[in-house]
Symmetry: C2
Subunit: 252 residues, 2 copies
Amino acid sequence: MATEHTGTGDPARSLALLWRSAAPAPRRGPRPGLDVDRVVAAAVALADAEGLGALSMRRVAGSLGVAPMTLYTHVPGKAELVDLMLDAVLAELYADGPVTGDWRQRLTAVARANWELFVRHPWAVRIGAGRPPLGPGVLAKYEQELRAVDGTGLTEVQMDLVVTLVNGFVAGTVRGLHDRAGAERESGVTEEQWWAATAPYFARVFDADRYPTVARVGPVAGAELQAAYDPVRTFEFGLERLLDGIGLLIVG
Amino acid sequence: MATEHTGTGDPARSLALLWRSAAPAPRRGPRPGLDVDRVVAAAVALADAEGLGALSMRRVAGSLGVAPMTLYTHVPGKAELVDLMLDAVLAELYADGPVTGDWRQRLTAVARANWELFVRHPWAVRIGAGRPPLGPGVLAKYEQELRAVDGTGLTEVQMDLVVTLVNGFVAGTVRGLHDRAGAERESGVTEEQWWAATAPYFARVFDADRYPTVARVGPVAGAELQAAYDPVRTFEFGLERLLDGIGLLIVG
DNA sequence: CGGGCCAGAATACGGTGTACGGAGAAACCG
DNA sequence: CGGTTTCTCCGTACACCGTATTCTGGCCCG
């Protein structure tokens, strides 16, 4: 499983690819049998199906029926491909139109939309986006999310901070969801099996006198959250707390 | 840059290593020139210095002056080594004693302690811990953090949820910090250089009429947050909002 | 003393991204 | 029309990765 970084390589080339504003199609030479959109779509499909760890140039090329080096005719490198993938899936957000309602409803919708996107594309949350691909998907997302907190009396800086906060919350929470799913997929061992295998040995090393609060809270939380599917419960619980806190900022 | 997963391999072996409760040292055979602690320390030092992407068995072995396969005498595999590394650094938390004060002060201290740990060990936040290494470091952390919200009137489940929420918030925010630092380290291009290279092309594709809110908010937030070092500001701002929200739950 | 145990390491294999250069197709231009 | 240029595609190679397997040599124990 790999974490990829955005924002590498030549900015001009990357932005041209993101906005599909590269030079006009060449006039000479053989007609291409492949284009950027198809490469990106194949890569997204592979990552969706098998996770970011399965995303190799060889695998993407194989799924397109071409040689690995062929991909480099269309994208400068793997990192740039990942930029393109991320921007492509972010473009799915708010495709049905902007979020509506009062500020709380709008922020709730923003959080849920992002959550659902990362559920559809688990790999997307793994991408270190310190230098986001400034493509149409990213810009549309940022625009719609800023609008969700527009007209609330927040300053521009506060608006940006709230949007960043909600995004960070969702990303962090959905990571928990995927960490569990990823561990299962990569090991082929379900959580129940893992715990069944681990618990006997854990019981041997765990000293309730040394960790009294864990001994009290752990079994109760474990029993209840196991049933309620912990990362989702965490999301719902956390979103309420976060919105309450943001509400104090907006409403006072 | 790799994201590693915790919780793989044989649970018995992993737990024995985590708690250093493996069978007594063998009596026969050559005296080991190496032990688990030294392997873990070398791996932590390498990851601290160069990030998780530089963490290969060959590199760790090289820093210890041994052949790569030698490491496998001491740890079953790379995944288990990563478990050990994570547990080792988490053991640094609250080493000076538990957090004190009222519930808000305690949670603030928990958040800050975690933030500072991840600043010291940036790689630690990259580890998908869906199946946490249940070693002394992880257990001590969980114990202290549960104590920070003990006696507040929250149920055991709520305690666990609040601890998870705060941890997720810190992890998500510090990732932003590291995403930026990581992009710079891997590309050798500072953020200013990157923006200087990107901005001219971005200006060409960016249409203010299509993204009016971004056009209004972006420059203001960018100017102010650039100076205030955005991920830290996000952390401070977000922590206040989050604590306000948790406060409504605790105090009503 | 000799056999067995054990740490260490050499070798090899299957996997990764991509540099480099060649082959062949298609367009351009004199 | 033919030579040159442009362009897509891809084979080969290299440096890197984790680790399976087997061999070597040191040390303990009966």
